[in-house]
């Protein structure tokens, strides 16, 4: 997950670094020339590279006020000041190409287009006008901006799942929602194991009364994990099934109720209403939205609409082992404002990982090129 994004982030850093490095050199050169020979002025102007052009003219201007034909504009004072301090200013045009590259990299990683735009805007805002001294590394400045802006979108209201389970009144009811085939049932089985490993008893409730084979599927998981399963006939009322499971948990001192729901497309109004009803009837302590890490631009649409139908507390991303680009994680967290809690990374019951945004950003920006 995120492998290609990581490469691209590295090259973005390098690109900006190089651009500013060139700029710094050109400036230093221009300064030297200007200082050495006042007559050589026009030549300096003509020869210096684009980025250095304005600065060269400015340095000339400070030598000879009569000659100040440069298009210095409003930023002149700031530029002159930082120039005097031996600093350079990162300008918008320095970033244009690297930012375009970065945008493509984000899109290639399945980050939704509007979310990608926002990340870019954040970075642009952070970097444009940022000064760096000749001695300090541009890379640091850029890295900070990247880390900030990524964290800002990924890390939204992260909470400690374990702690929340520990502190909640038992039984804790967790409902899983999502479109068809993303892996809700498998995720429930994995989390059942996860919770068991931490000393909690669980009961599964099969709220998928629609799909053929749904009962058999979850029953087998329940058997394998030695967990109680509450299910009704196919075609039954999903809210009733989950309600029964909560009753069961109450009377049998079970800690956690894991409620499955039928996969549904967010465009199916009837089913989305049903989801709302489950939320109303059962009053879950936590609703987790399950989506697959291989999802593309549409991840945002569905996350948004599921969140609207039955407000979610967090998300689980499955199939993260499928060499996915992982951008869905960024997009979903960003549009719902709810954290990604777990990643599904395989077909075994233990193949579930906690999602740590800081760790992820750290890994993305880690030095490895």
């Amino acid at each position: 997950m995120f492998d290609s994004l990581k490469d691209k982030l590295g090259s973005f850093r390098k690109d900006v670094e190089e651009t500013t490095e060139e700029k710094a050199e050109a400036e230093a050169e221009a300064e030297a020339e200007a200082a050495a020979e006042a007559e050589a002025e026009p030549e300096t102007e003509a020869n210096a590279s684009d980025a250095a052009d304005a600065e060269a003219a400015e340095s000339a201007a400070s030598d000879d006020a009569a000659d100040s034909t440069a298009s210095s504009g409003g930023g002149f004072a700031a530029k002159a000041k930082s120039f005097a301090k031996g600093e350079i200013v990162i300008e918008e045009q320095d970033l244009e190409d690297p930012l375009w590259e970065l945008e493509m990299a984000l899109l290639e990683s399945d980050v939704e287009m509007n979310v990608a735009q926002e990340i870019l805007d954040n970075i642009r805002e952070d970097l444009v006008g940022a000064t760096r001294s000749f001695s300090s590394e541009t890379a640091d400045v850029v890295e900070q901006a990247l880390a900030d802006s990524l964290l800002k979108v990924i890390s939204v209201g992260q909470f400690d799942f374990d702690q929340r389970i520990a502190e909640a009144d038992k039984p804790v009811t967790i409902i899983f929602t999502g479109v068809n085939g993303v892996g809700k049932t498998t995720t429930i089985a994995k989390l059942s194991k996860y919770l068991k490993d931490r000393g909690y008893s669980t009961v599964m409730a099969n709220g998928d009364t629609y799909r053929a084979g749904a009962n058999e599927q979850i029953q087998e998981h329940a058997d394998n994990l030695d967990t109680k399963l509450i299910s009704h006939e196919q075609g039954g009322d999903p809210a009733a099934v989950i309600y029964d499971a909560v009753e069961y948990a109450d009377s049998h001192d079970v800690d956690v109720v894991l409620g499955d729901t039928a996969g549904r497309l967010h465009t199916n109004e009837g089913l989305m209403d049903q989801l709302e009803k489950i939320g109303r009837v059962v009053g879950p302590d936590m609703t987790l939205f399950v989506d697959e890490a291989v999802a593309g631009q549409d991840a945002v649409q569905r996350a948004k609409q599921f969140n609207e139908a039955a407000e979610i507390d967090g998300a689980v991303l499955t199939k993260a082992d499928a060499d996915s680009q992982g951008g869905a994680a960024i997009s979903i967290a960003h549009v719902t404002g709810k954290p990604i809690l777990f990643l599904g990374v395989g077909q075994g019951y233990d193949d579930v990982e906690k999602f740590e945004p800081e760790e992820l950003v750290g890994r993305l920006l880690g030095d490895e090129e």
Binding site: M104, L107, E108, S109, D110, M113, V179, N180, G181, V182, G183, R211, A212, G213, A214, N215, E216, Q217, I218, Q219, E220, H221, N224, L265, H266, T267, N268, E292, V294, A295, G296, Q297, D298, A299, Q301, R302, K319, D321, A322, D323, S324, Q325, G327, A328, Q347
Partner: protein, 465 residues
């Protein structure tokens, strides 16, 4: 639908070109940017998008528009050609004996697709059988079995066996009476080496005539890698795009098609076994560029009419064209419309109604129309048979009673009566046309300016052809 946003944004930018005879570099730049944006938002792979837009740009700037062609038509035709080039033909599926192997990621919809395809073949007069080899996912056998029952096709699976290759072999033998064998496999992804090896073995055992890759319409950039891996190991002859009834654009399918040098075979558009369509490139591109898709529409209409008709033998759509148009007829029509699928999808296939006109309607126009149709149904449920047969005789006191009975306001009831009047008038105009074909009807509707947007159903009368 696949890439439906591209259609509208393209029309927007191309609209700016109308009247011009030459395209400037800036024009092309802008159009290409629009195309890139839409394609990327549709999950088409980034480098593929760049290739496509580069060649459109190059050709638009370099090729001289043929004499007499406007700049707009010139660019449009280039876009059309490039898109057709990319999408290719629909995968050739001959109606003969064959074995088809389905492959794809977990949860992409292989089992549902297997049943849908089987249903499709059975409607074409062949005898299909589904062979389920997924021994890994709990419940896979039961799901496949039930889906096959719903599709009313032969089925083979063995819930107690654990060797998919053996099941595949046994399955082909057990269902040797069938003409078409569809072999379903367990979901797997490109990085699961042992599972990839397994599907290679299944492939060798069943020796399929074609391998189809089943892809979720929502898949992102990963489609490329997945498609390549499956193509490398078993060879992919076609792609099935599933879950197109969501909001996903299915651009991943284009990526996969490009990567495997294959084409799109089927589209999955819903949860029941009937929700399957053959992919029609010409219709797809035409629809994309706002030209409507008559063929799909006709097929849908026929199917919907058939379904509606079988529920009630007394009702013959042709009667509408002869005698009095009653509320009962109107209700049938509404049911038929429902059977055709979401209204906006249907509208989009109608020349002159899809594309440009649809863009002008507010986004929720279709929802509103659908809501209206639903409340009309409720109202009609509260009417007596006599009222349904002779709506003109409904007076104010009856309106009040019907409104109270149906829980709708009187305004709505009057709206329904108004709508009925309008439809029956429209229908009268068509009655003169006799057994005119769909296309002629469509032309007429187009000339009438699309039959009046929001009301929508006004122009829908002639579907009973």
């Amino acid at each position: 639908m696949v890439l439906d946003d591209l259609g509208s944004s393209l029309r927007d930018s191309l609209g700016k070109l109308s009247g011009q005879t030459r395209v400037t570099e800036e024009d092309v730049e802008e159009i290409v940017k629009e195309i890139q944006r839409s394609l990327l938002q549709s999950d088409v792979e980034v480098s593929l998008v760049m290739d496509l837009s580069d060649s459109i740009k190059e050709r638009a700037l370099e090729e001289e528009p043929p004499g007499g062609t406007s700049a707009r038509d010139h660019v449009l035709s280039i876009v059309y050609e490039e898109m057709v080039d990319l999408v290719g033909d629909s995968t050739d599926i001959p109606l003969e004996e064959q074995t088809i192997l389905l492959a794809g990621l977990q949860g992409s919809g292989k089992t549902t697709t297997a049943a849908k395809m089987a249903w499709w073949f059975s409607k074409k007069g062949l005898r299909p059988a589904v062979v389920q080899t997924d021994t890994f996912r709990p419940g896979a056998y039961d799901q496949a079995k039930e889906m096959a029952e719903r599709a009313e096709v032969d089925f083979y699976g063995d819930p107690d066996a654990d060797d998919p290759v053996q099941i595949a072999r046994d399955g082909l033998e057990a269902t040797s009476d069938a003409d078409v064998h569809i072999v379903d496999t367990a979901g797997r992804h490109a990085l699961e080496d042992d599972l990839i090896a397994e599907i290679e073995e299944i492939e060798r055992a069943v020796d399929p005539d074609r391998n189809l890759l089943v892809l979720d319409a929502a898949i992102g950039q990963g489609a490329k890698e997945q498609a390549r891996q499956f193509d490398d190991s078993i060879g992919i002859e076609g792609v099935v795009v599933t879950k197109l009834d969501g909001t996903a654009k299915g651009g991943g399918a284009l990526t996969a098609v490009n990567e495997t040098d294959s084409s799109i075979a089927f589209l999955g558009t819903g949860e029941t076994v009937q929700d399957v369509e053959r992919f029609e490139p010409s219709g797809f591109i035409s629809r994309l560029l706002g030209m409507g898709d008559l063929k799909q529409l006709t097929e849908r209409v026929e199917r919907a009419m058939e379904e509606t008709g079988t529920e009630d033998d007394d009702w013959d759509p042709e009667d509408m064209l002869k005698g009095e148009f009653t509320l009962n007829d109107m209700r049938k029509q509404m049911q038929a419309m429902n059977n055709m699928g979401p209204l906006d999808q249907v509208m989009d296939m109608i020349p002159g109604m899809g594309g440009g006109l649809m863009d002008e309607l507010p986004d929720d126009a279709m929802d509103v129309t659908q809501d209206r149709m639903r409340s009309f149904e409720v109202i009609m449920d509260s009417m007596t048979d006599a009222e349904l047969e002779n709506p003109r005789a409904i007076g104010a006191s009856q309106v009040e009673r019907i409104a109270r009975g149906s829980g709708q306001d009187e305004e709505r009831v009057r709206e329904l009566l108004e709508q009925h009047k309008m439809m029956s008038q429209t229908l009268k105009q068509f009655q003169g046309m006799g057994q005119g074909n769909m296309e002629r009807m469509m032309k007429k509707m187009q000339n009438q300016g699309g039959g009046g947007g929001g009301g929508g159903m006004g122009g829908m009368g002639p579907f009973g052809d």
